[in-house]
Structure formats: C-alpha cells, structure tokens
Subunit: 297 residues, 2 copies
Amino acid sequence: MRLIEAVPNFSEGRNQETVEKILEVFRAVDGCHLLDAHADGDHNRLVVTVVGEPGPVTEACLAAGKRAAELIDMDEHTGSHPRIGATDVVPLVPVRDVTMKECVALAEELGERFADELGIPVYLYEKAARKPGRRKLENIRRGEYETLKEEIDQPERRPDFGPAEMPSAGATVVGARQPLVAYNIYLNTEDVGVANVIARAVRGSSGGFANVKAIGLEVDEGVQVSMNLTNFRSTPIHRVFEFVRREAEQRGVTVESSEIVGLLPEEALIAAARYYLRLAGFDPDEQILEYRIAREE
Amino acid sequence: MRLIEAVPNFSEGRNQETVEKILEVFRAVDGCHLLDAHADGDHNRLVVTVVGEPGPVTEACLAAGKRAAELIDMDEHTGSHPRIGATDVVPLVPVRDVTMKECVALAEELGERFADELGIPVYLYEKAARKPGRRKLENIRRGEYETLKEEIDQPERRPDFGPAEMPSAGATVVGARQPLVAYNIYLNTEDVGVANVIARAVRGSSGGFANVKAIGLEVDEGVQVSMNLTNFRSTPIHRVFEFVRREAEQRGVTVESSEIVGLLPEEALIAAARYYLRLAGFDPDEQILEYRIAREE
C-alpha cells in the first residue's frame, strides 16, 4: 500500500463550527484517514494530520481548501501564528512506497489545482520549491497576509501558480518534505547544562548531524535532549541515540530512556532493529509477514 | 487486522498433480494468503504456510483436508518423515491481535470439523492438548500410521474427536503453538567449537533460555550459532542476541552479523527497537502510522 501523509494548516482555531466543517471534508473522503486535528485559539489555527494513498489524501486537501476559502476571510483574521491564507500551508510527506520525487510531483499537481479550480495564488516550498528563496516557509510568509497582499504583483513575490492578486482566501503554500520525528532522550542528571551541551553537539546548526534540531530542556519527567529529526532516513534514530549516549557517558551521565512524541512510520523502528541485531541479508518485503500480506492485497 | 498463520503438512511430496490440487484450495479462498509451499520427494510431504484472518485460514485448511482425504491413501504412502495421515498436522499460530487462548479455541473447532465433516480421527497437540501425553507431536505419532491403525481403539490412543477406527486418509493432529523464528548468529571465528559451546549455553535443554533450540554449525558463509526461537514473545530475539554476543566476547570472538531465516511477525523487530532505544511510554497502536491506519479500516 502506497502511503503519504499531509499536514494541512488552516487559519481558523476559534470558531468551532468552521473547524468542524473543515474536518467533515476529511472524514467524508474514503481512504483518507484523519489521524489528528489540533485547533489553537491563540494561534487561531487548525493543524490537521491525514494519511492514506496519494489520490484520496490530495483530493481531500483540495476539497478542504475549497471549504476553507468559502468560510474564512483573511481580511478578518487575527492570530499569533504567521499566516498568508485560509489554507495556509499543505506539506505532503512520503510515508511508504512513495519517493520524495513522486511527492514533489503530487505537490505540484495539487498546487496547480488550488490555482486553477479555486483561483488561489500558490507558492511551492521545501523539496517542491522552484526558486531557492522559497525553500523556507518563513521567506514565503514574510510580512504575512497583509504585506503579501500589497506585494504579490512584484516580480520576486509573484506566485508559482494562480493569480498575482490576492483573494479574500489569501494564498496557499504547497510542498513536500520528509516525515518529522519528534524524539527526546532523557538523561540521568538534574543538570540541564549537560543536556544543553549535548544538544549543541548533536544538532546540525552547531556542527552535529544534518537533519537534527535539538535543545536541552528541563521538564516534569526530568532533563532531556529534545529533538526534531527532519529526515529519519538519512539520519536515523538509532545513530542519534548512540551518539547522545556516548556524549552523555563522556560526562559521567547515563541515558535513562527515550521517547517518540506523536506518530512515526514503522520503517524507522525496523531500521533500528536491523542495526542493533546486525541483521544481514534481511528483506522486509519478503520476510515480514504483514508486509507480505499487504503486498498481496 | 487479526491474523493467524497455519502450517498444514500433507502426506504428498512426489505427485505434482496432487500437490497442485491441494494448493489450489488455498489459492481459492479469499483472505487466505498462501505464503509458502515446500514439497519434498524424500519426505513425500508437502508443507504449506498460509496467513490471514482466522475465518478464511481455518476454512481453507478444512477444505484442503477434504481434498487431501480424497486424493491420498495412507495405505499406499511411503516417505522418510514420520506421519499418521493425509493431512498429517495443522498447527495454528497467533500472529497479530489474536491470543493463544483464542488460537486454542480455533484449533478445537477445526479439529471437531475434521472429525464431524470428514470422518477423520483428530488429536489435539501442543497448547491445545487435552492430555499431557499429547503435548508433543512425536508421542501422538508413535509407530506412525501403520501402528496407530492397529492401536487406535486402545484407551490411551483413542482420538480426541472422531471415530476410533482408521480411514484411508489416516488421522490428523491439530493444535496451537507460538510462531517459530529461525535465527542464526554468525561469529568472527573459524572454530566451530566456539559456536558449539555457545549453543549449549544459550539453549534451554542444557541450562540456557527456555524456548531456544540451538546448535553450532559450519556453513559456507562461516561459523554460526543456529537457533529456533519457539516463543519470541517470552524469549525475545534481542535478549538472545545480546546473550550470544556476551558469551562470544568472553572467548575473544565478536559477532559478525545475524540472520532471520524465512518469515517473522513485525512485532518481533519493533520489540527489539524499543529495547535498544530504551523507548518509554511507547504505544505502537497509537504511534505507528501504519497501525493507526490498519485499525481504522
């Protein structure tokens, strides 16, 4: 079964009726599984997580985008989270048997449909970006809805698809990125300084692993190195765990436990098992019972 | 999705036409997935591996049992492998979301249907055994078809279900057991003696782990500790791996790699990942994307 995840963000987190009407769209599409929905009043924003085969997932995102355009007027919107549109951003994520290249093609197709069928200006970002300056969401959202409305017809701010003028539904950013794994490692210490030092060592921005963001944190459960792994295929969980363990040991501290926050593709855990058990010549598609069955169906 | 595996053994490994007619039955049942079929001429025996939801799998086993009874005459059968019937033995194995208790109930029901609908004497074995002496297959098969035919009406050899006289299809053993994982660990040594010493240390019969059978072997790829794990839930792969690694180290030998032969339920690998990553508070059903989707369908 081919699977993608989509995490569309909508600019409504206060009006429960509007939130429900958007969620209804996702629930109504066969083969699109609504895994999570988080409405935040302060942000005035709804973050939805759906998974399924590419067709149903992108179909549901487009239909929800239409619904959001009908219900949300960006000229009336306020909220603490940066945003430029009713459907603010739609990241597509390859989960299983889908390449990043295919996900980019899906994002392009979905972006074109937002433009052609809904008349919404569309920007492509992350792996789908067509201009280097549009890889990062914050560049596209600079000045938010209000500023972009003024600048949208300037050459460097013209959308990749759709009109160079702003409708009341605002603009939408569509793209493809790797699944994000939120991963924390708890240390047997009361000194958050140790976690901070290790966070600096492990994260890419200060010389550690690419695809790892990290900070030291003191939470109720103890001291942790709190991380986001933005590409678990290139920088796998088990390597990050072993690195943090070694760094902690150098400081006389042991690792107590680790924690996955939210969801992850099972591939990430199977990769860890293969690494630690030194499994040679193992073919998951042939040797894992459940994969064999899924393939036959 | 609830899953069981069945590994029915039939007493025909030479006549390809008969083998095909039996396999056809499994292929014809919707929801019963034929994963493997091995016909051995020397044993004159066919070993089939099927997986699916309990209903289709047991239905297919019964239908194949009927076909085998029509096609195989045990009075004509010869072969080097011990056997008492056309359908010689049907182990049912819990794979996913099915308890051993439920598997025992399925085995009892299937055994009754072999007796009632096909007129075949049935013995319950392993976890489904109703008499302590019938836990082990070799006790039930003592003297094979020819002797059992003479002794079947004696009190200690009367079947659990069905007639106490032998039809030409012979008798069938039905039961429930844990999935078997064939697992080998390769050592960086040319001395098979080290593998033999470790095999004795790790296997239950000489004081090691329950549910582990082991021998040392020299094969083309090198020296290995060759094991069968008969209950990977109680005696997990990762504990066995760590134990063998430590024992090898004590002898100045390192572990080169390990190997899963054939199929295993993915649960076994996810358990290994959780162990090595020290994952705390992890709920596979909630946190593994694919499990969430499977549950919703």
